[in-house]
């Protein structure tokens, strides 16, 4: 199991800020697909990801116990 933390509008869309999913061995890109399918989260493609408080690429593979954060970049100013 990995723990997924969501920020900003993703958190609002999900209605909570964290969720545990069975995703060990998946890449970040695959985790995004899984979240999109399981929770109907939209617009994850340009969302930044961090694994254990460190920014990670789309092809980073997550392992059991990882904490994965998804950070939608904000544009206002």
């Amino acid at each position: 199991m990995i723990k997924v933390l969501l920020f900003a509008h993703l958190k609002d869309a999900l209605g909570k800020e964290e969720v545990s999913i069975d995703a060990a061995g998946l890449t970040i890109a695959a985790v995004k697909e899984k979240l999109a399918a399981d929770f109907k989260l939209e617009g994850l493609d340009a969302v930044m990801a961090a694994v254990n408080e460190e920014f990670a690429d789309e092809d980073t593979v997550v392992t059991d116990g990882d904490i994965v954060a998804f950070i939608p970049p904000v544009s206002g100013g």
Binding site: A46, A50, E53, F55, P73, V74, S75, G76, G77
Partner: protein, 339 residues
């Protein structure tokens, strides 16, 4: 005014020598909205040598709730933001040279301003301009500071060419249809918090205290009492087209820029994004309705009205702004709503 900087020179990492360095530097602020006006005030009070402020728009009533410097009189006079900011900054510190540029910041107009610039502070409201800043910063090896906010959320990251990853490393694609201040609102504390980070980073860079520069990407939510910093060292990419081994600076090419044209014989500007956008019109409609816009639509387009201005947005991201021939103003309206 001898004592003006005494509390700043007392701060050991700045000191008298740091103050002289600040005094010798030229900083560009891209955007004079919420982040721009507050960063401008901070750097003017801090005594920077020269400040160039680039903004394409004028002061409106809805700015006053969070944009420092501006007054009701500026709204009534519809003053350009860069000019209004300059007027107020001159009252605060006449020793700082303020250059107000009332232009649209594009790859071409920004590049002209870069000789002798020490630092670029991002105060824009859209990722297209940020990617242009990112490429120019790499091309001319100038540090820049990303900052953005919406609602009670904000984020900031300092990009040092040759050292940190760049914005293009962090974001392989430009986000489409995120939440903007026009759809999700914004509270002034979120602005202040981003500016606190940006102006602290600016002071570090201006006094050349490179070891103090924040190495992580910070994001916060003041209403939800959250604050997190993420390390970035693993995402610097040698094949990045902006900061990698063989950069092409893709966002400096005309193909990657939003186009605006006055439609022949009509008081209307067409805005065309660089790539087709696949907008969710129903979501956009409900977001904008909450923002005081009058919205009508069908599956192919939305008609959005506010303050006598009307915009028609098509599903592919193209838009017509009626009632104006001002290209920069039309693009500003478009990017403010669509990010």
């Amino acid at each position: 005014m001898d004592e003006r900087y005494s509390r700043q020179t007392l701060f050991t990492p700045i000191g008298q020598s740091g103050q002289q360095k600040i005094r010798g530097k030229h900083v560009i602020l891209v955007g004079a909205g919420a982040l721009g006006s507050a960063n401008a005030e901070a750097l003017t009070r801090a005594g920077v040598g020269k400040l160039t402020i680039i903004d394409r728009d004028y002061v409106e009533a809805s700015n006053l709730q969070r944009q420092q410097l501006y007054t009701e009189a500026d709204v009534l006079e519809k003053l350009p933001k860069a000019e209004a900011a300059k007027n107020h900054l001159n009252q605060i510190n006449k020793d700082v040279e303020i250059e107000a540029l009332i232009i649209d910041a594009t790859a071409v107009t920004l590049e002209e301003q870069l000789p002798d610039v020490s630092l670029i502070i991002d105060c824009t409201d859209n990722f297209e301009t940020r990617m242009v800043i990112n490429d120019l910063a790499q091309k001319y090896a100038i540090p820049w500071i990303y900052g953005a906010c919406v609602g009670s959320v904000g984020m900031s990251f300092t990009i040092i060419p040759g050292k940190t990853p760049c914005l293009h490393c962090l974001m392989r694609t430009i986000p489409m249809q995120g939440v903007t201040c026009d759809t999700g609102g914004i509270i002034s504390p979120a602005v202040q918090m981003v500016v606190a980070h940006q102006s602290a980073e600016a002071l570090k860079i201006l006094v050349e205290d490179w070891d103090a520069v924040k190495p992580s990407f910070t994001t916060f939510d003041l209403w939800r009492n959250e604050y997190q910093s993420f390390k970035v060292s693993k995402v610097k990419k040698s094949d990045c087209l902006s900061c990698g081994d063989a950069p092409t600076y893709p966002f400096l090419t005309p193909e990657n820029a939003t186009k605006t044209t006055v439609l022949c014989g009509r008081d209307t500007v067409q805005v065309r994004p660089p790539a087709q956008r696949n907008l969710k019109l129903d979501k956009l409609a409900s977001d904008l309705a909450g923002g005081g816009y009058e919205v009508k639509g069908n599956p192919f387009l939305l008609s959005i009205e506010k303050n006598g201005e009307r915009m028609v947005v098509f599903q592919d991201g193209r838009a017509l702004i009626h009632g104006t021939k001002d290209l920069a103003h039309a693009k500003a309206l478009y990017q403010r709503i669509l990010g």
